[in-house]
């Protein structure tokens, strides 16, 4: 397997982009990534697009070709592949692009992610919830937030995690987003504001949940040899791993552990030759605040059941031992479903280059965790200089 570098990154603003279309936002992120890489366009061998549900959000399928077309790549007739794993679609697109370059099949490959969610209006929540088992969870009214709420209650009962702990995750991510010009919510919130926000699915409240967002992100991957022609300071993908689990929460052996996250992270650590304690900064999938706390544990940042200690003691804050979600995470940067996993990698590349501006973290090794649904898919990407 060849070493693979990221030579360009780009992202659109995340948020309620009423005036922009699916194609507009994807192109915005793509152009930024190509400019960043110093590519003209004709050097690109292939395109992977992470997208969960354009068919239901905007009634448009065949989006890999649509994007190739609007990016001028259909002119070159390059292969373009859509990748879907619910809200892990973006992370998986990066992994597929990584494999395409690492294998020697291609030299320069684009991994993109895009979702236009707000056009679906009041249906957007249930489209997102179709990442759960629609016949046996969705049918009875178990929305994505309801399923995470049931995990939350078990985590609270078993390990003593509190609603204040959850609120602190949301507060931290909002505080971080203030310094991210692409973020949806660039405003601080208080623990009380989270605790007093209306219930979505008890005990989860509105401000425990990632918002509905439009957005796109794009990264350009190249083999080590090719990367050196474009940049003197490449960032490398040290490993990428993906794992699955039972789709429905009720089928899993342990209801407070995401086995997919445990498995994917251990594989990724091994391939990269690092351990959990070597990670300097992480972008984690906080679709719900409980997901970030469970991720601390399942990634091995701390032992099972003690995740809340990392937020209580400030270890995951900016300036702490392992800053988590310097971008603001899904909660405050925004969760444009299929774009999220690509955006996480783009953020970490900026961090590793030292180009993250006011939210810069001193780092050499970085980890992204992108989760599909309630943990049926986990994608872990480790990056380094």
């Amino acid at each position: 397997m060849r070493k693979v570098a990221v030579i360009g990154v780009g992202q659109s603003r995340f948020g309620e982009l009423w005036d922009r279309s699916f194609r507009d936002i994807m192109l915005e992120a793509g152009v930024e990534a190509l400019e960043d890489a110093g590519l003209e366009g004709k050097e690109i061998d292939a395109l992977f697009v992470g997208n969960m549900s354009a068919g239901r959000y905007i009634a448009q399928e065949h989006v890999a070709t649509l994007i190739a077309d609007y990016a001028g790549l259909a002119e070159l007739n390059i292969p373009s592949v859509r990748v879907e794993a619910a809200d892990a679609s973006g992370g998986l697109a990066v992994r597929m692009a990584h494999l395409a370059v690492a294998s020697g099949m291609h030299d320069i490959v684009i991994a993109a992610g895009v979702e236009k969610v707000t056009d679906a209006g009041e249906l957007s929540m249930e489209i997102m919830s179709s990442s759960a088992d629609m016949e046996w969870e969705g049918f009875v009214g178990a929305t994505l937030s309801a399923i995470y709420a049931m995990m939350t209650k078990l985590h609270m009962k078993e390990f003593g995690t509190t609603e204040e702990d959850l609120a602190m995750v949301s507060v931290k991510n909002h505080r971080n987003a203030v310094n991210n010009p692409k973020a949806q919510f660039k405003s601080e919130i208080s623990v009380d504001a989270v605790l007093n926000s209306p219930y979505v699915a008890e005990p989860l409240k509105l401000l425990d949940c990632a918002p509905i967002s439009d957005g796109a992100a794009c990264v350009v991957l190249a083999s080590e040899e090719v990367a050196k022609q474009y940049t003197d300071t490449p960032v490398y993908i040290k490993s990428s791993a993906q794992a699955s689990d039972y789709l429905a929460l009720h089928s899993r052996k342990d209801l407070t552990t995401m086995q997919s996250v445990v498995t994917a992270s251990r594989q990724a650590y091994k391939q990269a030759g690092v351990e959990a304690r070597d990670i300097d900064v992480a972008e984690l999938h906080d679709s719900f605040t409980i997901a970030e706390i469970m991720a601390y544990e399942d990634l091995g940042f701390i032992e099972k059941g003690k995740g809340a200690e990392l937020i209580r003691e400030g270890i995951v804050e900016m300036g702490g031992e392992i800053p988590v979600n310097p971008s603001g995470g899904l909660k405050a940067c925004g969760h444009a479903v299929g774009a999220t996993g690509v955006r996480q990698v783009a953020e970490l590349v900026l961090q590793l280059r030292g180009g993250a501006g006011k939210r810069q973290v001193e780092c050499e090794t970085a980890l992204a965790l992108n989760i599909g649904g309630t943990g049926g898919t986990a994608v872990v990407t480790i990056l380094g200089r």
Binding site: S129, E135, G138, F139, G141, A149, M150, E202, A248, H250
Partner: protein, 131 residues
Amino acid sequence: MLPRFWRKIRYRYDLIGTRCNTCGRNYYPPRNFCPVCRRRSSIEEVQLSGYGTVLSYSIVHDTPVGLKMEKPYVVALIQLDEGPIITSQLACEPEEVHDGMRVKAVFRKYGEDGEDGIIYYGTKFIPAEEA
């Protein structure tokens, strides 16, 4: 949506699960392929007793469009006495629910496909003492 619902009626109405005779595991929702034994699976249907215990639950306020009239409703993870854990609704007041509560399956309406569409029925659970 009609055939998709109709195919599962037998299992939704009567709480019929499946059992793998190779390993002895019971499944609900039913599986016709045992995920542990895979090709060595030997599957037959089993009628479940309908009794179980609430492991976790949530009172749902942000609902899908079709369930707006029902809100808030209670969704729970219920461990059936035969072993499987299922996701279902509790047909009782939110204040009545607690972890570890014994519950029993009952036949209830879940919703309808608009004014002219089919009505969806299935299993919900009520406190076992009331049964």
